[in-house]
Symmetry: C2
Amino acid sequence: MRSSDIILGILLEKPATGYEIKEKFTTSLSNFYNASFGSIYPILHKLTKEEKVVFETITQSGKPNKKVYSITQKGKIAFQQYLRQPVEDKKTKWDFMAHLFYSKYLTIEERLELIDSEIATQKSEVQILTALREKLAVQKIDRYQFFCLDLGIKQKQLVVTELQGLKDNIIAEKQ
Amino acid sequence: MRSSDIILGILLEKPATGYEIKEKFTTSLSNFYNASFGSIYPILHKLTKEEKVVFETITQSGKPNKKVYSITQKGKIAFQQYLRQPVEDKKTKWDFMAHLFYSKYLTIEERLELIDSEIATQKSEVQILTALREKLAVQKIDRYQFFCLDLGIKQKQLVVTELQGLKDNIIAEKQ
DNA sequence: AGGTTCATGTAACTCGTTACATGATTCA
DNA sequence: TGAATCATGTAACGAGTTACATGAACCT
């Protein structure tokens, strides 16, 4: 899986601008993929050259012009090929966990601050995803996408619960 | 967080060879980080040049010689610095989720096969981590590392449960 | 006979991030 | 006044992967 595969998937659903694609990465897809503008725009150029997408320039007043990209037949075939490829291993870089794993080298205060801050982060992400869920539930979003969103929320809630338990234990012991 | 930070963390616990470090990445740390031999060995060379680690060559008969790396004072300071740095965002590349997210473009059979295969993968990982948990519980592994391991297991179990639910729904609807 | 474990290493490559540039509008 | 939103783009850089090389012992 490369970013280009995921971008083709996004465009298969609906034409979009680079900016809108980035938004997807930070919301509905955030649970399993992410990409920055610095990779999105060059990929869009590359996909255009490969004739997997085409774009239409929309002139806007007050805002910068935008390019709305659509997937072509060639792009659809490429995406189908991706979907049939063997599933790659999950790759995670979770800095918080690394910190927590070695948190015996921190003071209690630092450790509690670390945990609290992560609880806040996860809670806020749960809120954002839950709001998105409500919004998408109204529209008829397809079931598998809904499942992915839901699983993301549940995973984050699990982390919150577990971290809160850990925190309580640490505080209880402290006294 | 770079691989070099995590490697210093590993060596802070106990001297190890590159091969043993890789093993950690595929077991106890697999929940939050991973690295290949192609990055581990060059990093070990770089850390040696920076005097953050030193190594001792162990001559072995029957097996290739090995280099046992230990962390130095300089390395310890570098790791403490890492630990105090602000926590970076979690980054995930989860190919299975991408496949599932767009699985409406698959046939039911392909979809069920996709889900089944992921259930099997996750279950096998739960087993490996559970076995590791038992093993480490006997030794006195520290509490935060234990928490991280446990959370990893719980997260995987959640995925298994949810996927099994999804699968059952799909099968029920099919008939 | 062939796969797995132990064990280290390098080179080519791909991918993606960070940081920058540009610039108008809207909101607080 | 300054931050956020909308909107696209590039260049330098860094990190890490894949694929290869080497090679003995042990297990099935």
